[in-house]
């Protein structure tokens, strides 16, 4: 039988997760690798319209984007649009691997075992299962956001410019990024133990999902608060992104791109805190 983690443990769990990152910075190393790969990808996209990379990329950019993206400052739009598209593949094939390694490191620290300089090895079988696990999470989030997209399309048909219907329309349209954040929090919580089970128990993803749903309910609300609270740190980023047009009127494209890069680091830090919490919670609540 799994142990329940009461809701009052949520803040200590969050605090413990944050402090463990400071006490054991090795947990951050896999996330540093993810950051490096993301920044490398962004850098390649940044230089893609310029010589010498334009020799390879110019025709692709012309075909997929247009002539505008070969010139300043529209090359930044190219960077950000294509980076967003590439993020899915990075999430599935790179983040899955290194988050798996981070979970293994966190587990070792929690068990008081020594952590080597080199990152733990994740075998092919576990890697494939991790990819499928992340794909399931991605599809769940995509499913919910598509549903919200249907609501947005309906809201756009509202013609009122004042009154209750107008307020509903505005709430749906303006609240879109925050709703997506809430969806992400809920889905992450629902599947919180899948990655630790795949990495630590070497189970296939479907068995891991099954076991996850058997034991998550004892700590669901605790984890929801922890993941929700840590995700709140991303709200300023969402606020700024929602008002991108206004910011563009007085920041240079380079400054905006710096903000995008900083928000990447923010996201990875939040991921580190969340996976530290999820792994710790899993180790506390799993079946003996």
């Amino acid at each position: 039988m799994s142990t329940k983690l009461p809701v009052k443990q949520s803040l200590p769990l969050l605090g413990n997760s944050i402090s463990s990152l400071f006490q054991h910075p090795k947990i951050l190393y896999p996330f540093a690798v993810i950051a490096f790969i993301q920044l490398l990808f962004m850098e390649i996209l940044f230089f893609a319209p310029r010589f010498p990379l334009s020799v390879l990329f110019k025709e692709i950019i012309l075909k997929l984007g247009g002539k505008l993206y070969l010139h300043y400052p529209f090359n930044f739009d190219l960077v950000n649009h294509w980076f967003q598209s590439g993020q899915i593949w990075i999430f599935l094939f790179i983040s899955s691997l290194f988050i798996g390694k981070a979970v293994a490191i966190i587990a070792k620290i929690n068990r008081g075992q020594p952590v080597e300089e080199k990152m733990p090895v994740i075998g092919i079988k576990r890697y494939v299962n991790l990819i499928v696990a992340f794909l399931i999470i991605l599809l769940m989030v995509y499913g919910f956001t598509s549903f919200y997209g249907t609501i947005i399309r309906r809201a756009l048909q509202i013609r009122s410019t004042s009154g209750i219907y107008f307020l509903i329309k505005q709430a749906i349209l303006i609240g879109s990024p925050y709703f997506n954040l809430v969806i992400s929090v809920i889905v992450t919580t629902l599947f919180a133990y899948v990655v630790p089970i795949v990495v630590l128990e070497d189970r296939n993803v479907f068995a891991a999902v099954w076991k996850n749903f058997q034991i998550i309910w004892g700590s669901f609300w605790t984890l929801l608060i922890v993941i929700g609270a840590s995700s709140m740190f991303y709200i300023p980023v969402l606020l700024i992104r929602s008002n991108q047009r206004w910011f563009f009127s007085f920041v240079t494209p380079e400054l905006w791109q710096t903000f995008v890069i900083v928000s990447l680091f923010f996201m990875l830090l939040i991921d580190a805190i969340q996976y530290a919490a999820m792994t710790t919670s899993y180790l506390l609540t799993k079946e003996e």
Partner: protein, 298 residues
């Protein structure tokens, strides 16, 4: 771990520095031009509120860029911005000198020269020297009639005379425009794009002459003769059908004729790639007929 993080940072910085040094393109110039454009926009937003020193500072900024990058492809744009700033500041002689420099330096580039000459003409118009402006526009038409700017000159000049109320000159230039565009549209040596532009401009001229049946015939030629051309893309087709609707519905007030016009094309060209769009146009004509509305002129 710290060492590896420094390695990551080092790799990213090294790639950035190497690729920046290797780039011999115009990215740097575009960046500086963009910043100058921001200053330019700040000045033209409210020129009366801007002190002369600010105008001079922006002009000097462009002049410095021209001196630093004399071989850049953006030189005409930089000169043009300087000339525009002079014109906005009502220093028309200085503006014309600057635009004249573009004409002299880029004599081999018809597109650049026609734009610069157009700007010269605009400064004469701003000074109220209409005849001098017309002389410049006539020269553009004569020498650069196949550039984008030169192509529109006869209609543009007719418009200037229309504004000044000179009906005789309006009629004269419309007649010259008709002959010019008919020649362009009919010359099979010209590209499809230019010929189609000619058809559209001819139809517009005929509409200005109140010759709606002539305009209808021209647009019918444009649609039928160029239906299979790659130039008859969605944007072009939309422009042609808009003109047709203005003639058939806006002027002739004949919804049934409009419907049968498009239906005839569909019937004589079964399975043609343009048919789905024309079916939509027929639907919109029916809706307009029900509401008894007329399409808005472009």
């Amino acid at each position: 771990m710290k060492r590896k993080i420094f390695i990551f940072i080092g790799v990213l910085l090294a790639i950035y520095i190497v690729l920046t040094l290797l780039d011999q393109g115009e990215y740097r110039i575009e960046k500086q031009l963009w910043r100058m454009r921001e200053k330019y926009n700040a000045v033209v937003k409210d020129p009366k509120a801007v002190p002369d020193a600010q105008f001079e500072a922006v002009i000097l900024g462009y002049a410095k860029l021209i001196k630093r990058y004399p071989d850049s492809s953006y030189i005409p744009q930089m000169y043009s911005s300087i000339g525009s700033l002079y014109a906005i500041n009502k220093r028309y002689e200085d503006a014309r000198k600057t635009f004249g420099q573009i004409v002299a330096t880029f004599a081999d580039d018809p597109t650049v020269v026609s734009k610069a000459m157009m700007d010269i003409g605009a400064t004469y118009q701003a000074e109220g020297k209409q005849q001098k402006a017309i002389d410049v526009y006539n020269r553009i038409w004569e020498k650069y009639g196949k550039t984008e700017i030169g192509f529109m000159m006869p209609l543009y000049m007719a418009g200037i005379y229309r504004q000044s109320g000179d009906a005789a000159q309006v009629a004269s230039y419309l007649a010259k425009a008709e002959a010019f565009y008919r020649q362009i549209a009919g010359d099979k040596e010209n590209s499809d794009s230019l010929r189609l532009n000619g058809c559209q401009a001819l139809a517009t001229t005929q509409m200005s002459q109140q010759n709606f049946s002539g305009a209808l015939q021209t647009l019918k030629t444009a649609l039928y003769d160029f239906a299979d051309s790659s130039e008859m893309n969605p944007k072009r087709l939309s422009a042609v059908t808009r003109l047709l609707n203005i003639v058939l519905i806006g002027q002739m007030r004949d919804f049934d004729k409009a419907e049968s016009f498009y239906r005839d094309f569909i019937t004589t060209h079964p399975g043609h790639r343009l048919n789905p769009y024309l079916e939509k146009v027929i639907e919109s004509v029916k809706v307009l007929k029900e509401k008894n509305q007329t399409p808005v002129a472009p």
